[in-house]
Symmetry: C2
Subunit: 416 residues, 2 copies
């Protein structure tokens, strides 16, 4: 939520739903910039000091941003003439583990909220935060308000969880790269999970996982939609993330194209092709808390092989140093080569399960554009390739067209 003007508009929007007879639980985020402002204050006071663990107090601090916006929203709703009450995470309570700054929700008590709903109140539950077993305040990490909203929806067995974001839905790919990209009216939970994990930033992946675990229907819609559009229109806007592969689902084999420019590729050349080689290379990487994404081991030649993997670009230099220091000599590797100018492009679609040849069609499209594929990784509903970064837009546009994502699906046309 931005200014008080935006909070006021959120209140008007919530009032519209409440007056139409819906029982509403609202989970607001902090006012924009507030979390950063608070953490910047902490940073001024605590210069980098690796031994100190400020995380408990950072959570005490950061949790105030959402508490303030929750109280303000309750006030705005009361000014609209609705009865409303706000609760901090510990008041619900939302119980989490004790992993400060990235806590996980363990349970939500719905008694207090249900009683208020039954009394006709709009309930505001403060997002992003909870309380651990010892009564300490915890926060859920960036995007935690979305996770809170989904968790509350799950606990309340809500009909639908509406997530108001700064985009108006989930697109077949990023419209800034492909102007023809279309907003999807539906997407399956599994597809959304792949899209999110592949770098589509609409929703935090943890909130999607949570929705999946508890089968909470999620609707992603725009917070910039005027609050006074008809409720029926708003209720069907955005993109619905569903759990039923029903017949009304869009029938495209590929639903979307995701891409990610945040990775870098590292290859350890000429290592012995013996059991345990992957662990010897990736063990130290994992110990240094570096996430590895795509992993490839080439066919061996003369008992030697090349081993390649991708890491986040921020970890690239650290990973190279680590391998040179701790791994290279032990394995008798002659060379470690890396490339930070790569990207990953993925096609995602639940239809890939039942359609053969989707991956090879992807490879053909890229080949026709003269794009060399450096690495390939597949799952049941997605195929990812690592290619030279400079071809990213070209690859995404070509795939978007080849898999007919520019076209409105037949069933949507029939409906309109």
């Amino acid at each position: 939520m931005g200014s008080t003007e935006r909070i006021g508009n959120v209140a008007k929007r919530v009032a519209k739903w409440a007056r139409a007879g819906h029982q509403m639980v609202v989970v607001p985020s902090a006012m924009s910039g507030e979390t950063n402002r608070l953490l910047a204050l902490a940073k001024e006071l605590a210069p980098a000091k690796p031994t100190a663990d400020y995380s408990r107090e950072l959570d005490m601090l950061a949790a105030t941003g959402e508490q303030a916006s929750s109280a303000l929203l309750a006030i705005a709703l009361q000014a609209e003439g609705l009865e409303s009450v706000s609760y901090a995470g510990w008041q619900v309570p939302i119980r989490t583990n004790s992993a400060y700054t990235k806590a996980r929700i363990e349970s939500i008590d719905d008694k207090r909220v249900r009683a208020d709903l039954a009394n006709g109140k709009v309930v505001i539950v403060t997002g992003f935060q909870g309380m651990d077993e010892q009564g300490n305040i915890t926060t859920l990490g960036r995007g935690g308000s979305d996770t809170s909203a989904v968790a509350v929806a799950a606990a309340m067995k809500a009909q639908e969880c509406l997530i108001y974001t700064d985009v108006d839905g989930v697109y077949t790919t990023d419209p800034r790269v492909v102007p023809e990209a279309r907003r999807m009216t539906n997407i399956s939970f599994e597809e959304m999970l792949e899209m999110a994990s592949l770098g589509s930033k609409v929703l935090q992946i943890r909130s999607v996982e949570f929705a999946g675990k508890y089968r909470v229907p999620l609707r992603v819609l725009s917070s910039f939609t005027p609050w006074d559009i008809p409720l029926e229109e708003e209720a069907t806007s955005g993109t619905l993330i569903t759990f039923e592969e029903d017949e009304n689902m869009e029938q495209a084999i590929v639903s979307g194209i995701a891409f990610n420019r945040d990775e870098a590729k590292i290859s350890v050349l000429g290592v012995p092709d013996t059991p345990g080689i992957a662990y010897q290379i990736l063990g130290p990487i994992a110990e240094a808390n570096i996430d590895v994404d795509v992993i490839i081991q080439n066919l061996s030649k003369d008992g030697k092989t090349d081993f390649s993997f991708t890491v986040h670009r921020n970890d690239y230099a650290k990973a190279i140093d680590l391998l040179k220091d701790q791994v290279m000599d032990n394995l008798g590797s002659k060379e470690i080569v890396g490339d930070a100018k790569i990207c990953k492009v993925s096609i995602v679609g639940i239809g890939m399960r039942s359609h053969v040849g989707v991956a090879s069609r992807m490879f053909r499209v890229l080949s026709e554009e003269g794009i060399n594929i450096q690495m390939i990784s597949t799952s049941e509903i997605k195929t990812s390739v690592v290619i030279d970064e400079k071809y990213m837009e070209l690859a995404v546009r070509a795939l978007h067209k080849a898999f007919d994502l520019d076209q409105v699906p037949a069933d949507t046309i029939a409906q309109s």
Copy 2:
């Protein structure tokens, strides 16, 4: 607390005490301007609407200011190398009644804090706030952080409660009016209570009352003192508010001169001098939640009398209207007159108990300056007069001199 720089200095000061072997519980206020900033946001959202009661949500909102500064102070202390932990009011818990925005502390559980102190931690307890029986967040009203500090000191049976303020102690009168005003090294609790209630703004009266109830020795000292002065010097600076009338106490009959320009006088003329007249006049005033201070009923003449009282200047117009509407005709009063240009000047001193003639000496001083006394009110340790506002400085200076408050007391000279 002001900027992060000031929080950092508070941390250094606390560290100095802690390293000298003191177990410390610290109750920080919000960063300066923060409470006003939050309440201004609420005001933008909730235009004046007399029927709505936003107070619960205002407390949710305002409580975040102190929680943030508490977490920041804990972080600053950790950066100083001390172990420290901060608790919101509900975590201690500090239990209050449910009078939102002006709650009263009912009890404080000291278990959690004691355990942390025993483990060598500096404990930060968030001021200004508590939790009611239903688990709602409450705040104590303006200056509530002082009250929290005193209450925590009482619960912990602290040796002394140090209140760092923007002044360096309690003065014999306001130095802006009388340049010769002296800082007192000691003042009795009863005198401090009178000084506070008469408009000396060093401490909120509720925190002084609390200190009195639980006999917590309070030291008022300056937060602007450099943090690195020797501890012994800091420990004896400011003004100590004590509960023992011991021999070392300053022996002046009058300890200080308080004054207050916030009042206005109202007189109801020509009312029948019958029982119940005071209630008939002041009943409606009390029902309108208007505080009455000095009350005078003149001698009657021909069965009629004049009835006068003072109210806060903000309530002056409302009180006059009320009397004209509801009281005047019923009582057959011919006239209601008021004067907002008055002030109250008071001499305060525990020595007045055992010395006769102190009040008449005050009246003589004022008479010698040609100042007409409009109303008089006395208690065991103070005498107040209402006079024309324009004579206020003159009266205060004359009294300050006449009661020898310009002079350093003899016992203090002997000590130095």
